[in-house]
């Protein structure tokens, strides 16, 4: 149990030699599209920069973002497996930049388990305690307690090769929790499991969190995991933090276009639209449909002194409604999801997804059917065309 502070953390992978730098530059000049995830500078490749985060004691923080965004690198810097190129890492009030991993009192669960194959489950879990010269009875007590929590007591004498993927991941978690670390780090621990097992293990982690009550830092690329597990979510892209907030905050008030598109499933619908300011009122105009923004949004826009301008409008599929009037669109695909139908429609060349609850469905939708959709002023997100930022913040 400890607080963790990351102050302006930076990670740069230096070039191995001048030659590599030249090669990289040349390569990137030839292929500019590959530059998206890498910040190529004279120092080297910058993986993480300006990363500042205050993690409270016992908080569950999830770092989420696409591949190459720097989330795992950040976690590995906290673990001590990567050197910190700049900034300060403070765990429980102590600067940990140059402290060895074993002295940071952290535990880590790896994506691919990383169990010691020649040891039994018991030995795997007891290894770290043995190295700390813990008394035998104490080790036995702690290992059995962790095994009981994770429901792996019956496998204690087995070797990892005799376990299934889910059981191995439980052992990996068990190995981490026996030490009761100050901070528990998890690097995509569920991404090697199949969908069903992943859901089960996700629930297990939520339960585990209640039982062991420590500070968690969890890395994932899966926004569902991030939303369900985290007290707060850190959304990253190209080494930069895009937004930090509770799941509800990042879902309801995305800071920019990237966060809006990354969080939420199915992804948010985006349109080229106009923001009109008429006195102290704001309207969104889309294909003839004019929707007034609600009071809260209006107040925020007024505070930022936003004027009329072309915008990117974002509306989530669950907030897009089929209506008699509104924006016309043609049905492309209708996906039956059980309790609802995901309707893919073509609105003036844009693919738009509308979630229609089964109870609200009056008829089946077929390919080519003309429908109209609309949305309310309290769920419309307005993003600047120039900066991609949410104009409300």
């Amino acid at each position: 149990m400890a607080s963790v502070q990351l102050k302006n953390i930076k990670k740069v992978y230096p070039y191995i030699s001048g030659e590599d730098k030249k090669k990289n530059k040349k390569k990137n000049a030839d292929e500019p599209e590959k530059k998206i995830n890498l910040q190529i500078t004279d120092e080297g490749v910058v993986a993480v920069q300006q990363f500042s985060l205050d993690i409270k004691d016992k908080e569950f923080i999830v770092l989420v973002g696409p591949s190459g965004c720097g989330k795992s690198t950040t976690l590995r810097m906290v673990a001590g497996l990567e050197e910190i190129s700049g900034g300060e890492l403070i765990i429980d009030g102590k600067v940990m930049n140059d402290v060895a991993p074993k002295d940071r009192d952290i535990a880590m669960v790896f994506q691919n388990y990383a169990l010691y194959p020649h040891m039994t489950v018991y030995e795997n879990m007891a290894f770290s305690l043995k190295l700390r010269h813990t008394a035998k009875e104490e080790i036995d007590k702690k290992v059995r307690e962790a095994a009981r929590i994770l429901d792996i007591t019956q496998y204690l004498e087995r070797k990892p090769k005799a376990l299934s993927g889910g059981q191995r991941q439980r052992v990996a978690i068990g190995r981490a929790i026996v030490r009761a670390p100050k901070v528990m780090l998890m690097d995509e621990p569920l991404s090697n499991l199949d969908a069903k097992l992943r859901n089960e293990m996700r629930a297990e982690i939520i339960k585990l969190r209640q039982r062991i009550d420590t500070t968690f830092m969890y890395v994932t690329h899966d926004q569902t995991e991030a939303m369900t597990l985290g007290d707060r979510i850190v959304i990253m892209r190209d080494g930069y933090i895009q937004q930090i907030g509770t799941p509800q905050e990042v879902f309801n008030h995305p800071a920019n276009l990237f966060v809006a598109g990354f969080i939420g499933m199915p992804v948010m619908n985006f349109f080229d639209a106009e923001l009109k300011r008429e006195g102290d009122k704001f309207f969104v105009v889309l294909s003839g449909l004019k929707v007034q923004l609600d009071e809260k949004k209006t107040a925020r826009l007024l505070k930022n002194n936003v004027q009329s301008q072309p915008i990117t409008l974002g509306v989530r599929p669950e907030h897009t409604n089929i209506s008699d009037k509104g924006v016309p669109a043609k049905v492309d695909v209708s996906e039956m999801m059980g309790s609802s139908v995901h309707l893919h429609v073509d609105a003036d060349g844009h693919d738009v997804i509308i979630i229609v609850p089964i109870l609200d469905m009056e008829d089946n939708y077929n390919y080519g059917d003309l429908v109209h959709f609309t949305f309310n002023g309290n769920v419309a997100h307005v993003f600047s065309k120039e900066t991609d930022k949410n104009l409300e913040y």
Binding site: A79, A100, K102, Q111, A114, P117, H118
Partner: protein, 301 residues
């Protein structure tokens, strides 16, 4: 079982079937080429040399004899050679495996500064050797002539084996080391308690190569060892064979010359059997360490 195999074979496309048949035929030829001489040598070592020379292999047991084995095993020097060979082979294997595994570890680590330099130094020795006379002078100046160290030390470190061990280490997932590091393991703990136990296949391979190499070698011993009491088995067997050869120029006693020639032939087969037997016995014990599944379950494969 047979029907299952047949049905699996019948499922293969015709091209694969042909390839499989050719592969089996070639492997079969190799097998025959290896097995037949062994069988011949085993049988020949028991057959009276005159019969073997005149009519070849026979299963008429009245023509069989244990003369060669009596002669070879009756030689007290053989047992001294056996003991020496065993001591040299075991010690050489231990020293060689320890030195090789320890040298390979830093060479497998990307964060080892100077890795490229050491690698170059190592590889140079693979292309350029000192030559026999300079090496002899070196051993002599080091005061190792006619000592066990002249046999054990010079060949103990093999760059080739080091490269093989290094490559094997590099194949062990890095996560395993990082997990150990977080668990609180030092480099030494990681090396001895995590890395080496998962490297048993490569350790067994190197150990076997080195053991067999030392067991079969006689040249270094011939050059550096003078005392009869220090000679290994191969050198003793070589001496027995040479002593039994008819000496050129000794044509006066034709009968004796022929007898010596026949005995030499018989001894040749018996010595091959005697010197190979320990290795043949040893191999099955090593077999269990060649376990490919050692890393199973460590990481998601």
């Amino acid at each position: 079982m047979k029907t299952k195999k047949r049905s699996e074979f019948s499922k293969l496309p015709s091209g694969d079937k042909t390839l499989l048949i050719i592969a089996y035929a070639i492997l079969g030829l190799f097998l025959v080429a290896i097995i037949l001489p062994i069988i011949y040598i085993i049988l020949a070592s028991f057959i009276d040399p005159v019969t073997l020379q005149n009519s070849g292999l026979t299963f008429d047991f009245s023509k069989w004899t244990l003369t060669a084995y009596e002669r070879v095993l009756g030689n007290s020097q053989i047992w001294v050679g056996f003991k020496n060979a065993l001591i040299y082979s075991i010690l050489f294997t231990i020293i060689s495996v320890v030195v090789t595994l320890l040298a390979a570890y830093p060479m497998s680590r990307a964060d080892f500064k100077g890795r490229g330099f050491f690698n170059t130094i190592f590889v140079i020795t693979m292309f350029f050797g000192g030559g026999l006379i300079p090496t002899y002078l070196l051993i002599s100046n080091l005061g190792m002539l006619d000592t066990i160290w002249a046999i054990l030390i010079p060949g103990a470190f093999s760059v080739w084996n080091m490269i093989i061990a290094r490559t094997y280490y590099m194949g062990i997932p890095r996560d395993l080391q990082e997990a150990a590091e977080i668990d609180g393991a030092t480099e030494m703990v990681y090396f001895f308690q995590i890395l080496l136990p998962v490297c048993t296949p490569i350790i067994a391979t190197i150990a076997m190569w080195q053991f067999v190499g030392m067991w079969n070698s006689y040249f270094d011993a011939m050059i550096y060892l003078n005392s009869a009491s220090k000679q290994p088995l191969q050198l003793v067997l070589r001496a027995i064979l040479i002593q039994s050869q008819p000496e050129p120029g000794m044509v006066s006693d034709m009968q004796s010359t022929a007898a010596r020639a026949q005995l030499a032939e018989l001894l040749k087969y018996a010595t091959i059997i005697i010197s190979s037997l320990p290795l043949m016995i040893m191999y099955p014990f090593f077999q269990k360490y060649f376990d490919n599944g050692i890393m199973a379950g460590a990481v998601k494969g």
